[in-house]
C-alpha cells in the first residue's frame, strides 16, 4: 500500500453513507425513494434519465448551492409551484440521522430539518461533507480564474464551514461598495464602512484558502499511482501578504488598498483588488507542467487527484470520509485508471455515487458497489450484477 493510501486508524464510523434518499418534486423526480447500503453506488442509464439530478439532490444536503449552483426555484420540478424536498437517512460519525432540505409551502427560503426539527444551516454544516466532480468542471484549468476559485472554495468549504460565511459576506460588501461607487458624490464614510467589512471577511477568506491549499498541496504532492501528483499554489495579493504579516496587518493593508483604488474602481465599475481576484495555480508535478498545458486526459486525472486528495485531507483532519459525487467521471478514463479509481474509492471507505451511461464502464467494480439503473426519472431496479439487469423491486420503493 502506498503511503498516501494509508488510513487513520481507530476512527469507527468515519464513513458518511446515505441509507435512504427521498426526493419530492426535485428536478425530473415527482417522488422517489431509494434505499442503499453503505457501499459505493453506481447509477447507469441513458442521457437525460435523471442520474445527475440524483447527485445534485445529494449535493443539496451539504452546505452551499449544490453541484450545478442552481437557484432554489430552478431545481423545483415543473408544475410543482416551486415546492420541493430532498430528505435522507444518513449514517455518520454521530450515528444515524435524518436530514432534509427544500422549499416548504408558503416560503421562498430553503428550510432545513434534522431529525424532524427545523434547524439553521450552521447547525448541520458539519454533518454532511460532500466532494464532487462533474463534466462541467473538465475545462477548469483552461478557462478563467473564477472557475478555479469556485472549485477551490468548494473543496475548502467541505472542511472549513466558516469559509462560505466569510465568502458570502465579502461578496455582499463588495457588491454594495460597487453600487455606492457608481453614485455621484459617493459618501466616503459609507465606503469606509463597507471597505472595513470587505477587509475583515476578505482576509479571513484568504487565510482559510492558505490553510486549505497548504493541506491539499501536501496531500496532492505525495500521491503515487495513476492519478498524478500535483503542486498547488495560490496567486493573490492578500494571500501573499499573509506570508509576511498577521491577519490584523493584512486587514489594514487591504483597507488602505481599497481606499486608494476607489477612483479606479469607480471607473472600472468593479473592485480591482481583493481575494475575489485570486487564482489557483496547479502543476502536474512529474511533468512540471501547468495543468492547462497538459492533455485533456491528464487534466481530468489531475482533477481526480485533487478531489481524492481532499477526501484524504478530510479523513486525516476530521476523521470523516465524505460523500463523493462523481458524475460521468469514468467515461473518459482508460481501463487502468478506472480500476485504480474504483480501488481507491473502496480503500478510502467513502460512499461514492458514480454515474455513467453504460454498465460496462464499471466492470471490475462488481461486488464492491451497488448498481441501480435509472430511466425516465425512475429507478428501475437495484442491479444485482453488472451483467444481469432484473426488473424487480428489491429493497427499494419508488413512485412516479
Amino acid at each position: 500500500m502506498s503511503r498516501v493510501l494509508a488510513q487513520p486508524e481507530g476512527l469507527p464510523g468515519r464513513r458518511l453513507s446515505i441509507r435512504r434518499l427521498t426526493l419530492t418534486d426535485f428536478r425530473c423526480y415527482r417522488h422517489l425513494r431509494l434505499e442503499t447500503d453503505s457501499r459505493p453506488v453506481v447509477l447507469t442509464g441513458a442521457n437525460g434519465a435523471g442520474k445527475t439530478n440524483l447527485l445534485e439532490a445529494l449535493s443539496f444536503l451539504a452546505p452551499g448551492r449544490g453541484l450545478r449552483r442552481a437557484t432554489l426555484a430552478q431545481v423545483a420540478r415543473r408544475d410543482s409551484a416551486g415546492i420541493w424536498a430532498v430528505a435522507a437517512v444518513l449514517d455518520g460519525p454521530s450515528g444515524r440521522v435524518e436530514i432534509g432540505t427544500g422549499i416548504e409551502p408558503g416560503s421562498t427560503r430553503r428550510a432545513l430539518r434534522l431529525d424532524g426539527e427545523p434547524v439553521k444551516a450552521g447547525d448541520v454544516a458539519g454533518l454532511v461533507a460532500a466532494l464532487w466532480l462533474t463534466p462541467a468542471m473538465d475545462r477548469v484549468f483552461m478557462e478563467g480564474a473564477s472557475g478555479r476559485r469556485r472549485f477551490l472554495d468548494r473543496l475548502i468549504l467541505a472542511i472549513d464551514h466558516g469559509h462560505a460565511a466569510h465568502a458570502g459576506a465579502y461578496d455582499h460588501a463588495m457588491r454594495e461598495r460597487n453600487r455606492v461607487l457608481k453614485e455621484q458624490g459617493a459618501d466616503p464614510g459609507w465606503l469606509t464602512a463597507l471597505e472595513a467589512a470587505m477587509a475583515k471577511h476578505g482576509v479571513a477568506m484568504a487565510a482559510a484558502r492558505r490553510r486549505g491549499v497548504a493541506q491539499l498541496d501536501r496531500m496532492c504532492a505525495a500521491r503515487q499511482g495513476v492519478f498524478p501528483a500535483a503542486r498547488l499554489a495560490l496567486m493573490g495579493d492578500v494571500e501573499h501578504w499573509l506570508d509576511e504579516m498577521d491577519e490584523a496587518e493584512a486587514e489594514a493593508r487591504l483597507t488602505k488598498a481599497l481606499v486608494q483604488s476607489r477612483s479606479r474602481d469607480a471607473g472600472a465599475g468593479a473592485t480591482t483588488i481583493g481575494p475575489h481576484r485570486t487564482d489557483l495555480d496547479v502543476r502536474h508535478a512529474a511533468k512540471n507542467l501547468n495543468a492547462s498545458d497538459c492533455s485533456t486526459g491528464e487534466q481530468k486525472a489531475v482533477l481526480i487527484s485533487m478531489v481524492l486528495s481532499q477526501a484524504r485531507v478530510l479523513l486525516t483532519e476530521k476523521g470523516l470520509a465524505p460523500l463523493m459525487l462523481l458524475d460521468e467521471v469514468v467515461a473518459h478514463l482508460d481501463q487502468t485508471r478506472r480500476l485504480a479509481l474504483f480501488d481507491e474509492l473502496v480503500e478510502l471507505d467513502a460512499q461514492s455515487w458514480m454515474t455513467g451511461a453504460d454498465q460496462s464502464l464499471f466492470d471490475g467494480f462488481e461486488g464492491r458497489a451497488q448498481f441501480f439503473q435509472v430511466a425516465d426519472a425512475t429507478i428501475l431496479n437495484p442491479v444485482a450484477d453488472a451483467t444481469n439487469i432484473h426488473k424487480e423491486t428489491g429493497n427499494l420503493t419508488h413512485e412516479h
Binding site: G106, T108, G162, H166, A173, E176, W190, T192, A196
Partner: protein, 197 residues
Amino acid sequence: MAGAEIEALIQLLARLPGLGPRSARRAALHLLDKRETLMSPLAQALSTAATSIKACTVCGNFDTVEPCAICQDRARDDSILCIVSDVASLWALERAQGYRGRYHVLGGLLSALDGIGPADLGVDDLVSRVQAGAIREVILATPATVDGQTTAHYIADRLSGLDVSVSGLAHGVPVGGELDYLDDGTINAALKARRGL
C-alpha cells in the same frame, strides 16, 4: 373558486411576512369560520391600530401617544442612547429588561443594493439628537450581518468627533450555550472578544 372579496382578502394576507398564498388561504378560511370570535375583533383591532398608532417623532418607536411612553418615561437614563435598526429590535431589548436608557430606531439598514442610504435612515437627525442632548454613551445594537455592521461602522464614524463614547453589542457564546453546538464563526468571534475574569 372564491369570490372577488375573498380573493382580495387572501391576496392581502399573502403579503404578510411568513405567509404565502397557501397559508393565506388557510388563514382566510379560518377567519371566515371564526367570524364573530376572531375576524370582527381582528378587523376592529386593525382599524384602531391603523388610526391611533404612530411612529414616535423622537425615537421612531410605535405608540398611541406622542412622544412614545419610553421617551416620556422620566425614570429612564437620558445619558445613554441605544440605536436599533427596527422596532422589533427595540421590543427585544425591552423584553430583556436589561436596558433603561433611550432609543433611536433607524427604520432600516444601509443597503446600496436596496437603495437605502444614510439620508433614508435619518442619520443627520440622529447626529443632531446626539449633539443636542445630554447623551454621553451610544450603544450600536444593529444586527451582526454585513449590512448591520456596515451601518454600525458608518454611524460610529459619523459620531467620532462628538463627546460621546460609542460601543457595540458583543458577539459570542449565548448565555446557556454549549461550545459544541456553536458555528465556527461565532466561536472565533467569542475568542476574539474574550475578557479578563
